[in-house]
Symmetry: C2
Subunit: 369 residues, 2 copies
């Protein structure tokens, strides 16, 4: 398989602002070009947009606005993991030899239609993600005797990490008590357990081995790719205290890369809700089953940023189509040693976990410097 | 580059029926499975949906409805050439080695939101495709002194071919005079010059060289792929009597396949409007500039089906996300010798031309038996 690297990135600060989808896409792209003087529009063979927005032909619109005339251009949608799906698609175009350089830009608005699971009749009236998250949370808490306080360490850690992420929706400080006492939404979820929809855009540039060093002397290689879709409807889940699609995607990614969970120095985890971070840590093989509460509390108390260094979805916000791309950017910055106050000590392998719709589908990526 | 073949297909009759998008996708998929007893759901690594529908997560929904648990699943959108974009994406996943077998299903409803170019502010009030088609038609007619009668041969030929296509929206016979005297829509377009939106679904199965012969003893290889996006807005077009994106896509596809226009035995052309068939024939290098009117008239008079044997978009209807897939199916049937009354004599190379939004982007595929 021909190697493919992430060689550049760009982003904007996530917000609740009422920004047109085209502007979100263009601003992230402009930031990428502004940071990469060696990149010319003529270099770009592929423009992929990842979004849940209803607008059509956004990849051609972004290409025109950016002065690019790509060979391949289209939108990729798979709800909350649209971003990593688009990145893997770009990887494939390059690895197959149809392209040398691909721009992948994810964006969504705070009012993205991907937030409500309109399509899932099995959910009855309960089409908002907080309902599946409540069921997940209740199941996990029951199985492992987990407390609200333990779940709150996820939020506390991720908000703390987000304070050093210039692209994060909120850089605000929250005390542990503030989070514990945040608004109750369901029997099992408070506001602090939830990631928040917002407007945001994130862009990455992928390149073939042949072209990568034109743009950077520190290419970050995509060495493991795992994806799995189990179903669309939540009620097909056979087990609701873990995420089977994540387990299966992780196995595929680790097999492809010849790496093991022990080799992972840090990870971007899809903490759509606090319980998702616990479940994912275990399904990825990073933490023993049922031990995540202790593990995360320890990370918080020792100021260790290795899980969700940019603040995760809870700290950074969740503009659906941008999230997977923003996760990849964080891994690239960490592996290039440019993560500033968020920098982890000398990492060599980073993991991205991006999922959709109650983990009915998951992507796991392993990136290496 | 690892070889990839089309090994199976399925479809449904296009109609104006009010069918849910999920049912269109599932019916085409079911028809594919029904025709291929060697295909098991477990074989399928990738499920891609091509559509302009606003529904989200359709690939996961189709996978669940079909009993497939794929690795890779997402929607691809690029207006009218969504279908070939999805097919090329599936090609890449397989050729790169991330998958062995990919199901690609395109569908749209008669009321698809992709029919109105909401996003193109440069079009002012003229967001319906008939406005760009009128400008194209006027420009072509002026440059080559083409008459309404000559354009009508496109419609007459394609409606005649469609009569033998069981999936076509209309199998009705039209006299030449009926078409000539159809309702006038703009100064340069009558109803008979236009393809019609409809509800439809089309499915293909792609496989690696390793897996192809499990499903068929006549795999059809995708040997040339060319894609080009020039812009999103029609007003960026520098030349309105031909289609630059089609020229550029054709060059890439012919270069990749080491074939020449003379090697093409038959072609599926994106005749969204009659003039598009003339322009595409010339931009693809199949006919000399300005000679298409005579060429098409001759095809009609000699009952030659080599251009748009299934009836094109004008004869078969145009369910946007399905069209590119339906075009590929026709080429596969012709190359496998199973096109029935539409069968061309012993072809070995077929071409697909699929475009979007006033040919601001085009895909050209070359397929070989």
């Amino acid at each position: 398989m021909n190697k493919v690297a992430v060689v550049a990135y760009g982003g904007i600060k996530f917000s609740r602002d009422n920004i047109p989808i085209e502007s979100l896409l263009l601003s992230a792209t402009k930031n990428l070009f502004d940071q990469n003087s060696k990149l010319d529009q003529k270099d770009v063979d592929v423009v992929l947009v990842s979004t849940n927005d209803n607008s059509k032909y956004l990849s051609a619109i972004l290409a025109e606005l950016s002065g690019i005339e790509p060979k391949i251009a289209h939108t990729v949608e798979s709800l909350c993991n649209s971003g990593t799906n688009a990145a893997v698609s770009a990887f494939s175009y390059i690895s197959a030899g149809l392209a040398e350089v691909a721009l992948v830009v994810g964006a969504d608005r705070f009012d993205s239609p991907g937030q409500i699971l309109q399509w899932d009749n099995s959910r009855g009236e309960y089409k908002h993600p907080i309902y599946w998250a409540s069921i997940f949370t209740k199941a996990y808490k029951r199985k492992f005797e987990t407390t609200n306080e333990e779940l709150t360490y996820v939020a506390a850690k991720n908000h703390r990490n987000a304070k050093n992420n210039p692209f994060a929706f909120s850089n605000k400080s929250f005390s542990f008590d503030e989070l514990m006492n945040s608004k109750i939404l369901t029997n099992d979820l408070r506001m602090s357990d939830c990631s928040r929809p917002c407007s945001g855009g994130s862009a990455i540039l992928l390149a073939s081995e042949n072209m990568a060093r034109k743009f950077t002397d520190k290419p970050v290689w995509i060495s493991g790719i795992g994806q799995k879709t189990m179903s669309a409807g939540f009620t097909k889940n056979k087990n609701i205290s873990n995420m089977i699609s994540t387990q299966k995607a992780a196995k595929i990614a680790f097999d492809m890369s010849h790496l093991k969970p022990d080799n992972v120095d840090f990870a971007e985890i899809h903490d759509a809700f606090t319980v998702c971070e616990f479940m994912a840590l275990e399904d990825l093989g990073l933490v023993q089953r049922g031990k995540s509460a202790q593990y995360v509390k320890n990370l918080f108390e020792t100021n260790n940023m290795k899980i969700n260094p940019r603040g995760g979805l809870i700290g950074s916000g969740h503009p659906l189509g941008a999230t997977g791309i923003a996760q990849i950017i964080e891994v690239v910055q960490q592996l290039q040693g440019t993560a500033g106050k968020r920098q982890i000590n000398n990492p060599s392998v980073g993991l991205v976990h991006n999922m959709s719709a109650a983990a009915t589908s998951s992507t796991v990526l392993l990136l290496k410097s």
